[in-house]
Symmetry: D2
């Protein structure tokens, strides 16, 4: 019984690319974190250290920076697609490129009610995209799958959330509740099934739909909130095939102030760090299968 190489990939991770557009006095910043894992036939590199089919990660890095100028960054999805197709088309051994781009958003500093020309503050991390080019032969069947997403979107609702009717066993101590705080730090990623998409507009629309459903859907479980959020995104956007969530249930426990003679009718809570519930769920069209290259939790 032999020992063999199984699934593998390699690439340069976390290239911190900053692109300034300074063609006019009103500058723009695109601030990216770019990784370029490649898959393909690299067995000889593993078994005998033969590098002749391997495009070094240093060269990948150079390409990532040069493309920021050569292709520019109209949207991170298009930039990532160009990179992925470059690696698949240009390197014999590469069967798939899983380019990941994370963007840090900047906004103009306001001075006298107007955004400044060249001074900015940075917001939280905005979103990531994972275009994939899973062609096994390079040429006619090349295909690019785009995944957009957001992470670390911290959400809470201070009412409109219940939790009861659950299974009990000998280890149950949790009381039922008809009014609790529901809070999470959302990771959401959605996969498109085509690439003729207005990426920025669609991203903003999906984000708004997720927020709106979180706010408006009365919740009997975090699971239910997530499902309603995903359903709204899929209903509005036929170009989205599937959406995945990872959502910690960030517990807020009511503090017992009665020993101090103080009433606490749902007003003072302790925000707990660990443990936390963790809900992971996919909402998808009924004819959709996972894309094995583009996609994992």
């Amino acid at each position: 019984m032999g020992i063999v190489l199984g699934p593998n990939q390699y690439g340069k991770s976390e290239n911190r690319v900053v692109r300034i557009y300074r063609d006019t006095a009103r500058h723009e910043i695109r601030d990216l974190n770019v990784s370029t894992p490649l898959r393909g036939d690299f067995d000889a590199a593993h078994t005998i250290g033969d590098q002749s089919a391997v495009l070094p990660t240093d060269t990948q890095k150079n390409t990532v920076f040069s493309f920021a100028k050569e292709q520019g960054i109209t949207s991170i999805e298009e930039y990532a697609r160009a990179l992925g197709e470059h690696f698949v088309d240009g390197t014999e051994a590469v069967s798939a490129a899983r380019v990941e781009v994370e963007e840090y958003a900047w906004q103009r500093i306001e001075v006298d009610g107007a955004g400044h020309d060249h001074a900015f503050t940075r917001s939280r991390r905005r979103r990531r995209v994972r275009p994939s080019s899973p062609s096994t032969t390079r040429g006619s069947d090349r295909r690019t799958t785009v995944v957009s997403g957001l992470k670390d979107l911290v959400l809470a609702k201070t009412t409109g959330s219940e939790f009861h009717g659950f299974l009990t066993d000998r280890y149950t101590t949790l009381p039922e509740t008809h009014d609790r705080i529901l809070a999470t730090s959302l990771v959401a990623r959605w996969r498109y099934d085509r690439t003729d998409v207005d990426w920025d507009t669609t991203y903003q629309s999906v984000r708004s739909l997720l927020l709106r459903q979180f706010a408006e859907a009365h919740s009997y479980a975090l699971q239910q909130s997530l499902y309603a959020m995903g359903e709204a995104a899929l209903e509005t956007h036929p170009e989205v095939a599937q959406i995945k969530f990872s959502a910690p249930n960030k517990h807020h426990f009511l503090v017992d102030l009665s020993p101090f003679g103080v009433d606490n009718p749902g007003e003072v809570f302790v925000a707990a760090d660990r443990p936390y519930g963790l809900i992971e769920a996919t909402v998808q069209r009924d004819d959709t299968a996972d894309d094995p290259v583009a996609w994992h939790w």
Copy 2:
């Protein structure tokens, strides 16, 4: 020659207090991280383990949570002041309390152009406050010093920054530049010399002044930008005695694309992690001394 106890303090750190105001259908969230270091005569606890003068940190925690309801949180400065004065007035051995409150800001989720009643997203950490009650005798000479501040405010300007004319020695390799990216992740803390202050309004004003000067002051050094920022805050706000900055110079290096035949006139940069320059500076009135309890870097 004897061995003795030197400077010391103790307290409960990082109480995660969440206060919901739900008196009407339009809820409010105040989300705090509260620490309560106390100073005073606790020598016996150290030398012989005698706790009779020690208010346990567990009791401090209970007080922090109960005050969120008993006093409420009109501003974090007032809440912190109430806590600090409680510990100084109520505990014989305490000579000074250095309450620290860090607030996480939440904003309403927008639905159809209006903020939702009870659904929120969290922004970055907003600011910290460190009221101090350095009374050595409790009574007539009790005094509270308030420090407000912000941290992790990431800023950049894509032009309007030069660096030249510096000292050189045998280890110098840095070229002079007349146009560079200037970026930092700002920590700023300012000390008030009185307590009849409209805390929230003043905080917003100081923050705006810092941002405006960063944007508008032409920079020959990060030091100079910081000084201009501090000066603007002190000029506008006579109630502020002193402001301290800690500002990493987050280097952005121009990438050499010439090996690939690509011109790069100040457009593609690599954002470096380490090392970074670190500038720390105080701007203050010429008759101001440091407050030894309220204040250190």
Copy 3:
């Protein structure tokens, strides 16, 4: 075309369980971080908020703590197996439990050359285990797959590593090298195909084999080092079916000291943070398939 629930799981994450064995004066500490994601038929919870099949994560937490006493912790693999089987056997809707246990190792403080009875220092995180119980029907076909592993094992070799003969294109600038520093922060996980294993002995043996191969195998690529490490583990341990690595290539760049008139023949390096190469590879027996529940990158 309908919208449906896709793959999903839920559970309590990061229960910080500390178990003291104090039956004799010579105490023992087991310090664990335990997560219990469950899979199965929980569709109604997502679509209509019906919790009747859902074992709350709070109950899972209680179970995790109670099992630390009821079952004890002879090895983390056995403890995790007991938890996984409990959730699969005891909860109708659960088809698979993917219990994860991470252990923090403690060692006795040395006093006069002997380990102290009840005082300890903590080492780095030691390892994780992910037993899985992928029975679709509970009963005769229940099966438990155990994965052991380690992470954050920082390794370096200061010679015996080359890199040359690689593919070049117009973006290539990297010179070939016949002597470089090779460094990584290793994550390794190996899957057993049976459960009658002496877990602690086997863990130590696999760890030693990985270290030894890293040290002794002359390296023409990090890929090759990883393959040699995996091969050694599989050759010695027939009970191991597959081993997965994730290994950043932590670059050390030689510093050019020639401007200062100082020679630097491979002695002073800068340890870079980002970007880094990232190598991920599996070594397995030629008749082994991935276990879809136990296993992903």
Copy 4:
């Protein structure tokens, strides 16, 4: 009333210097994180952007790397002292240099019971040193103060710790205990009052004394344990003038298993994240004053 510059410093932070000694086949690694904050008369840089007295942080970085070869690293204290004295002696405006060096320790990989010649694993961060050269005039009165230390040393004792007899008020709910777990993550820094010290030997001795006292001193408070630890270090080492501790009281709460019919006599605990008590204390000789440059919390 004018606005002026107050206390300030600047320098290059976190230079990641790796020095390999490869004079024989048995290599050595010294792996450092070096920061070089400088104080002095840099007012013009702040007020008008005049750099003529400023040694750029880039030049500091070059110096840090070149000294790793020119001076070598016999101990981090000596290396830091050489750097500090270089900046004070060589730069007119510098009145004090506060060089900080943090070392990551590596140990040889064991193969067949022997340490390998050139393959290593990394341990936790070991210690930091903060030599200071607070000469206001450069020349006869130049003085270097060395501070050594350790951080993130996680300690626990599973018995031999009590907590009772404390102050109570209306917010007290904590019960007294005569047997609890005492755990901390220790930061300790000690200041020498001379520089003719065998740094490595003394470091190891102080570390052992701290551990031994933590283990052996019966504890009525974490304060008391710290004081005993500091006292032991000062008694044995007359060259140490002062030692400072910062020690979170990492709470371990007994889990109530009685609802499940399980007895828990001090065996299963939950390790809490936040809040935590934080104890900070100095132990010093009775004729010792703080060194204002070398030293703050």
